[in-house]
């Protein structure tokens, strides 16, 4: 396992022209919340995990921001950074060639591809993370996305390390044609093997998650989580509206809608995410500690045993 974990080389950032954050207010000092329109001091926003302190809006995160929030400082070892996109169809449209678009995107985003994978720890617990970056061509799932995720799953299966995927995506990457579509099959097959190895996969559906990612590994994970307000669907809302000529219901395709319709396990606020993931990892880790003989008996949960019937668990909250 060690050798595998150390296999990937450390990420080497590409030169970036420093415009990766959208909706910026002059300078980098202030940022406008797209939900409540308040101006927020950027440092305050960062300290609050990029959740608006005024209205609770969860700003979208870049992949590396997410990783930084999720794993312990200094623990992340990136994998397969050398796996980089190609242009198998020699695809070109009026806005230019795919290969040029890739280069421009790489420069602009500071990433080689839309999925970052690697090993890290969550409060000391081993985890493999696979995090998509919506700023890289809408985190569309092409060959590299599928290959890196599949390699990560295969190593998780081998080493028994749980996987957490963070899944924002616009869907398939059209520029890679059917190679892109087939990544759905490839990643689901890898997930099936991960399951045979009894290694858990926790999926965080991140805003926005559509198309091929929604229709493959992300929605069949062992535990499926979303942050408040996250949009998740198969078809995009505009497509549905155009085709059906129906008005979409309020809150359509939000995390809350998915919870109500039984598609996700719970909604978690960003501030609670790391703790929740740690708790989940502990639950799965305990299963495999086969040290039978005398079991440790249960103890009353003192936080709860106050003689008063505790409140029912709220959806999306640990109780």
């Amino acid at each position: 396992m060690r050798s595998i974990l150390q296999r990937g080389d450390k990420f080497q950032p590409l030169p970036t022209d420093d415009d990766r954050l959208d909706q910026q207010i002059p300078g980098d000092l202030w940022k406008k919340c797209p939900k409540c329109s308040e101006l927020i001091y950027t440092r305050e926003l960062e300290n609050n995990l990029r959740v608006c302190p005024k209205c609770g809006n969860h700003f979208r995160l870049r992949a590396r921001e997410r990783i930084e929030q999720l794993v312990d400082p200094g623990s992340f070892v990136e994998w397969d950074a050398e796996v980089r996109p190609a242009d198998p169809l020699e695809f070109s449209d009026p806005s230019g060639a795919y290969s040029d678009k890739l280069q421009a995107t790489q420069r602009k985003s500071g990433e080689y591809e839309a999925l970052i994978t690697g090993f890290g720890t969550v409060d000391g617990r081993s985890i493999v993370v696979a995090v998509s970056d919506f700023d890289f061509l809408g985190a569309s799932m092409g060959s590299v996305f599928g290959e890196k995720l599949t390699r990560a799953m295969e190593r998780c299966a081998e080493a028994g390390t749980p996987l957490m995927s963070v899944n924002a995506s616009g869907g398939a990457r059209m520029h890679e044609g059917l190679f892109s579509l087939m990544q759905m099959a490839k990643t689901v097959a890898a997930f099936a093997r991960l399951g045979e190895a009894r290694v858990p996969h926790i999926s965080l559906l991140a805003d926005p998650c559509y198309g091929g990612v929604t229709a493959s590994y992300a929605t069949i994970a062992d535990v499926i989580i979303a942050e408040p307000g996250t949009l998740v669907g198969f078809a995009g809302p505009r497509v549905i509206e155009q085709i059906t000529k129906q008005k979409l219901p309020d809150g359509f395709q939000t995390a809350e809608f998915l919870l109500e319709h039984g598609m996700i396990d719970f909604i978690v606020e960003r501030g609670d995410l790391k703790r929740t993931v740690a708790e989940l990892l502990d639950h799965y880790a305990r299963v495999h500690q086969v040290d039978r003989g005398e079991s440790i008996p249960w103890q009353p949960n003192l936080a709860r045993s106050n003689g008063v019937a505790p409140k029912a668990a709220k959806p999306g909250k640990k109780s």
Binding site: F266, Y284, W298, N301
Partner: protein, 297 residues
């Protein structure tokens, strides 16, 4: 009267026992349904730590009449599933009075498969008037959902402990109750139909429910004598007057049951033996006469 005398939990030892022989089956029905009686989440929140509720059937919806998730019990991770009634009217309406819709059973089934996948034992708490009778429930296959849940439990390759904590209402209760060990609180009831329904049909008068309750043999004592329930957990005083003591006693009984089952599972071919024992557990239930006995197969 009590066949299974349990190690009494510390906290209940000083309480005065009620003269339980004085309780009629109908008294027990009323106790089993008492709104202040501890419900599944009360047990979950005291017996377990780190409960993470998991929602949804991945098909249609999330039924609040069933709660379930991952939790820690002693040094074990378990999957817990329970019917959930409300402690007040508002909550009861939200929980549909613990009457489960097909999506609730499908959520339970999903969680059971989750447990099986990772080798996690399952603990269920039974407390329902019955499966919801409704147009939508019929449209979405209430019968099929219950049957599928039973089929899943019949073959689930991980230990299952069920505790009847309140009202065991017919198929809607059994749907999460096909367990390796069936434990039952002394004042819980478990019946093939509600005494009211039985009285309405056979007595032609729902008001005769107390008599029907008597005739139907629905108490823990009865079911223990029938070999349907494995152990009766005493309520020295009714659970709603002794929440902590009752929950503790349930915790102790679940602990013993899980310890026993995990000991089976930890043997070589332990899962096969568990499956064999579960099959036999239900295989033998029934009473009939065999007029013309044939030679043993």
């Amino acid at each position: 009267m009590r066949r299974a005398l349990n190690r009494r939990s510390e906290s209940t030892a000083t309480l005065e026992p009620v003269e339980s022989v004085a309780l009629t089956p109908w008294d027990r029905v009323k106790l089993a349904r008492h709104q202040s009686r501890p419900h599944s989440l009360d047990y979950i929140n005291v017996l377990f730590t780190g409960f993470i509720e998991l929602h949804g059937d991945r098909l249609f919806g999330d039924d609040p009449a069933i709660v379930g998730g991952l939790a820690r019990f002693g040094d074990r991770t378990i999957v817990v599933i329970g019917h959930q009634k409300g402690g007040d009217t508002r909550e009861n309406i939200r929980r549909n009075f613990g009457m489960v819709r097909p999506e609730g059973y499908r959520k339970a089934e999903r969680l059971m498969r989750h447990a099986e996948k990772f080798g996690i034992p399952v603990v269920t708490f039974i407390d329902t008037p019955g499966a919801e009778p409704g147009i939508g429930s019929e449209e979405r296959g209430q019968g099929t959902a219950i049957a599928e849940s039973l089929l899943t439990m019949a073959g689930l390759k991980t230990p299952i402990v069920a505790v009847i904590i309140g009202e065991g209402g017919s198929g809607g209760a059994l749907a999460i109750g096909m367990a390796d060990r069936m434990l039952m609180l002394e004042n819980a009831v478990y019946a093939v139909a509600s005494p009211e329904a039985c009285a309405a049909i056979l007595w032609k008068d729902a008001g005769k429910a107390p008599q029907a309750a008597e005739t139907m043999r629905i108490t823990a004592e009865d079911l223990l004598s029938f070999g349907i329930v494995d152990e009766v957990i005493p309520e020295l005083v009714p659970a709603h007057e002794n929440t902590h003591g009752t929950i503790s006693a349930v915790g102790d009984a679940v602990q013993r049951a899980l310890d026993e089952l995990m000991e089976v599972v930890d043997q070589p071919s332990g899962l096969d033996r568990l499956m064999e024992q579960r099959y036999e557990r239900f295989r033998r239930i029934g009473v009939w006469s065999e007029a013309l006995p044939v030679a043993a197969e």
